[in-house]
């Protein structure tokens, strides 16, 4: 007779679809965002297929424009933004703080339904003919010129935003109110700190994008003059509103990944983080300064030269807390007990790719240099290093690290290492050539391009194929592990943290007895030092 855990405590569709257990809701998200990742990946594959040759010969220009638009919308709003918060955050935050669930379990389930409703709108927009504005919905193209399903897609983004807001609210209240006795702020796992910072952006930023897409719908549907100069509006206003959210949204994607990496690096070096408070506060610094840099998306729009200079300065400032994190992770490995399991390989991949992604961000922050590379493939390469090399590496690393806890099963470490290697190689082959393409001047969102750019595009498409194999493998061995994997012990990695003190998979109530916390996480060796530096 199997012991009762959250997975076998209740059977049938209703026990899942009406669950209020944060762990089951996390799995609902896991399945749905994996589906969206596959859809977004399919669009990416179509893009790379078209760009194999200079001529626009695989699909029409309109189809191509819809492909990159849908790729961006699906990946940003329906995969990257919810990925780590909604799956790993949902699963782990209550456990990491010694609670039985989130503060508002029903709201948590509602968040998932809202997310699905928003996703349904977007899929309807895709299936009924698509949308071709780019994921950025720039006006007046989106309100006056585009001849596609802009309002449906915009409503998808609008609706799913409420899912983010509710999730953020839930996390913040939970972290404030439900920590176990003795779990002070500075004993919190760094993953919780990063989720807290992310939640701040969720609730402060998301309403702005919601308002903005609503205004787009109002102008497009009702001809209210807001952004279109022909109606007396200002198209640049849209860009300010859009990036006020959408730049912080980049930090929604990367901060959770940073939290995951902090956990993995500590677990696989069996060593507490170097400079805990600097790593924790750098998350908050990124969340706050991240709200002040949106204008670097408008360097060539005609905004005033002085605004450009200020936004350039602030964009450099936001890079400093990111650099601090990278240095602290590196220092943590020093004198650790390093075990290169697949999770740690993803963490190493993250550190390397995020370093390159972050440093190339400085090129774009340097306003005089940005003029040349703005809206070229240099930008595409840069933000894929952050979002794919950073955020998805972190997500994959986190899935591998916590999979035994979530599923109760061990996966094949050999296959997992192979997949991590393929993803790293495939990723670099896909996106590194795009830096060169960008500096050479290839603009983004081009259906056809001059022949001298072909070599780099072929390399990129080749890399994307390797990347696709790398992403497909985990799907196979994770599913395989559910049926055939060894049973996971409570703490398969010899890691420290509340989540490793309860069985795998955890019981529905997480903790039979509420734990009392006497020290921070990841304390492996006895320490002479007092307090936390």
């Amino acid at each position: 007779m199997e012991t009762l855990n959250y997975l076998n405590n209740g059977h049938g569709a209703a026990s899942w679809l009406l669950t209020r257990d944060h762990k089951r809701i996390a799995l609902l998200y896991l399945v749905s965002i994996t589906a969206f990742f596959a859809i977004g990946g399919l669009f990416a594959f179509m893009i790379r297929l078209e760009l194999l040759t200079p001529a626009g010969d695989v699909m029409t220009a309109d189809t191509y424009n819809k492909m990159f638009t849908m790729h961006g919308v699906v990946m940003v709003f329906f995969f990257l933004i919810p990925s780590i918060p909604a799956v790993l955050g949902n699963f782990l935050i209550p456990i990491m703080i010694g609670a039985k669930d989130l503060a508002f379990p029903r709201v948590n389930l509602l968040s998932w339904y809202i997310y699905i409703l928003g996703g349904a709108f977007t899929l309807v927009a895709a299936l009924s003919g698509g949308v071709d504005t780019g994921w950025t919905f720039y006006t007046p193209y989106s309100t006056a010129a585009a001849n596609s399903h802009v309002i449906t897609a915009a409503m998808g983004v609008f609706i799913t935003g409420f899912s983010s807001i509710l999730t953020g609210l839930n996390f913040i209240v939970t972290v404030h109110r439900m920590r176990a006795p003795g779990l002070t702020w500075f004993r919190l796992p760094l993953f919780v700190w990063s989720m807290y910072a992310t939640s701040l952006i969720f609730i402060l930023g998301t309403p702005v994008i919601a308002i903005t897409v609503l205004l787009v719908a109002a102008e497009r549907g009702l001809h209210m003059g807001i952004f279109d100069p022909a109606l007396g509006g200002d198209p640049i206003l849209f860009q300010h509103l859009f990036w006020f959210y959408s730049h912080p949204a980049v930090y929604i994607m990367i901060l959770p990944a940073m939290g995951v990496i902090s956990e993995i690096v500590q677990a696989f070096t069996r060593k507490n983080i170097f400079g805990y408070s600097f790593v924790a506060f750098s998350s908050l610094a990124i969340a706050i300064i991240g709200f002040l840099v949106w204008g670097h998306h408008l360097f060539v729009s005609g905004q005033s030269v002085y605004a450009g200079l200020m936004f350039s300065l602030l964009s450099f400032m936001v890079a400093i807390p990111s650099a601090v994190k990278v240095f602290n992770w590196t220092a943590t490995i020093y004198k650790g007990s390093v075990q290169l399991d697949s999770s740690m390989l993803y963490a190493f991949g993250f550190i390397g790719l995020f370093t390159i992604g972050g440093l190339t961000g400085l090129f774009l922050a340097a306003v005089g240099l940005d003029v040349h590379i703005h809206d070229t493939y240099f930008v595409i390469a840069h933000f894929h290093y952050i979002m794919v090399g950073g955020a998805i590496m972190g997500y994959m690393g986190g899935l591998h690290y916590w999979w035994p806890k979530m599923s109760g099963r061990m996966y094949s470490e050999g296959w997992a290492k192979l997949a991590a290697g393929l993803i790293f190689v495939g990723f670099n082959l896909t996106f590194f050539p795009q830096f060169i393409l960008g500096y050479l001047g290839m603009p983004r969102r081009y259906h056809a391009y001059p022949p001298e750019f072909q070599v780099f595009n072929v390399a990129s498409t080749l890399g994307a194929t390797v990347l696709a194999v790398g992403y497909a493998l985990p799907l196979v061995y994770f599913i395989h592990s559910i049926f055939y994997g060894e049973k996971a012990p409570a703490d398969p990695w010899g890691a420290k943290g509340l989540e490793w003190e309860i069985p795998s998979p955890p019981p529905t109530e997480n903790f039979v007895v509420t734990p009392i916390v006497t020290h921070g996480t990841h304390q492996y060796a006895p320490s002479k030092e007092v307090g936390i530096v």
Binding site: D132, T269, S304, S312, F316, F327, Q339, L340, A366
Partner: protein, 330 residues
């Protein structure tokens, strides 16, 4: 065999060298820090690899000195990047007085250029080597972006306003012109060539071109055809401000504000005359929205400019009026 596989674009303008110098500096910094982190991570991972199952790492909690070190050093390096980038940008943003002026209109999906002596081009732009060229750019529909990679310059072309771009070509040749702001179906077809020519060749090309009226002459004709002249007249019956010598002046508006008469102000006054009425006049002018095209507005501006102007006051950035002498043949 790899002659056709460049890693860096050609430098076709004076500005290109300035941008590339900053680029190479940042590449060096990026290479240094990427290697530093990469080598340290790999070295530590090998040196401190786990040797037996229950081994744990050494408890080290941190070091304030190191934290300060790796906050302050990146800060100073970034300030160098910021200052350098700002300097390059400031230069890219300010067209020198006396630059040769060309009007550009973007529309889905073509570029139209209008030289001051009447030559017009579509998807091509001929410019002389060695002389600053200033483009004043407007859009008829959505946002486009005018991008010449070989010159390292780019500016969005935004409906409802004028953005300015300038460069000095340094090497004769034919270069790509791209639209770099997504603008719909044929965005990737909104491309053309910039042909930088020897000054003599350029003069010859101008002479052999399909010159029509100069923009100023075309504007003068429009000024009559649209009956602007009935109010904007030189005599005492004028019901609207006299335009002679007005360009570049600051005018007093109703309500006490002032405005500099530049391209943007004239454009606004044609399309939305009630927005900024000069003090002492009635708001009687009708809008010409929909009656004039973007190109015709630029012709009207050229005409107003040809009526004489003052040297531009030192104003803030943006569409500061430049060029004390009117280019062209008048």
């Amino acid at each position: 065999m790899f002659t056709n596989l460049p890693l860096f674009p050609v430098e076709g303008s004076v500005q290109a060298g300035q941008v590339d110098a900053l680029y190479f500096f940042m590449l060096a910094v990026t290479a240094f820090f990427s290697l530093l982190i990469g080598v340290l991570v790999v070295f530590f991972a090998i040196k401190y690899r786990r040797r037996h199952d229950d081994e744990v790492g050494v408890a080290i909690h941190g070091s304030l000195a190191l934290e300060l070190l790796w906050t302050i050093i990146p800060f100073f390096i970034m300030m160098v990047m910021f200052g350098w980038g700002a300097k390059v940008f400031y230069n890219l943003y300010r067209p020198p007085a006396g630059a040769m002026e060309i009007y550009i209109v973007g529309k889905q999906w073509m570029w139209k250029a209008q030289h001051m002596d009447g030559v017009r081009e579509i998807n091509e732009l001929h410019v002389p080597v060695g002389r600053p060229v200033k483009l004043t750019m407007g859009s008829e529909d959505v946002i486009h972006s005018f991008f010449i990679p070989a010159f390292r310059v780019k500016a969005d072309v935004v409906p409802g306003r004028y953005n300015v771009l300038w460069f000095t070509a340094s090497k004769a040749g034919t270069y790509h012109l791209f639209c770099s702001q997504y603008c719909g179906t044929k965005h990737s077809g909104m491309i053309g060539s910039v042909i930088a020519m020897d000054p003599n060749d350029f003069q010859a090309w101008l002479g052999g071109g399909n010159a029509s009226d100069t923009p100023a002459a075309a504007g003068e004709k429009l000024f009559t055809d649209l009956a602007c002249i009935t109010c904007h007249r030189d005599d005492a019956q004028a019901r609207a401000p006299q335009l002679k010598g007005l360009f570049g002046h600051t005018v007093q508006l109703q309500g006490g504000a002032t405005a500099v008469v530049d391209e943007a102000y004239i454009r606004e006054s044609i399309l939305n005359p009630q927005a900024k009425v000069v003090s002492g006049f009635q708001p009687i002018m009708p809008t010409f929205q929909g009656l004039v095209t973007e190109e015709q507005i630029l012709q009207l501006i050229a005409y107003v400019r040809s009526l004489g102007q003052v040297a531009p006051p030192a104003t803030t950035g943006g569409a500061a009026p430049a060029a004390p002498q009117t280019p062209g043949k008048d």
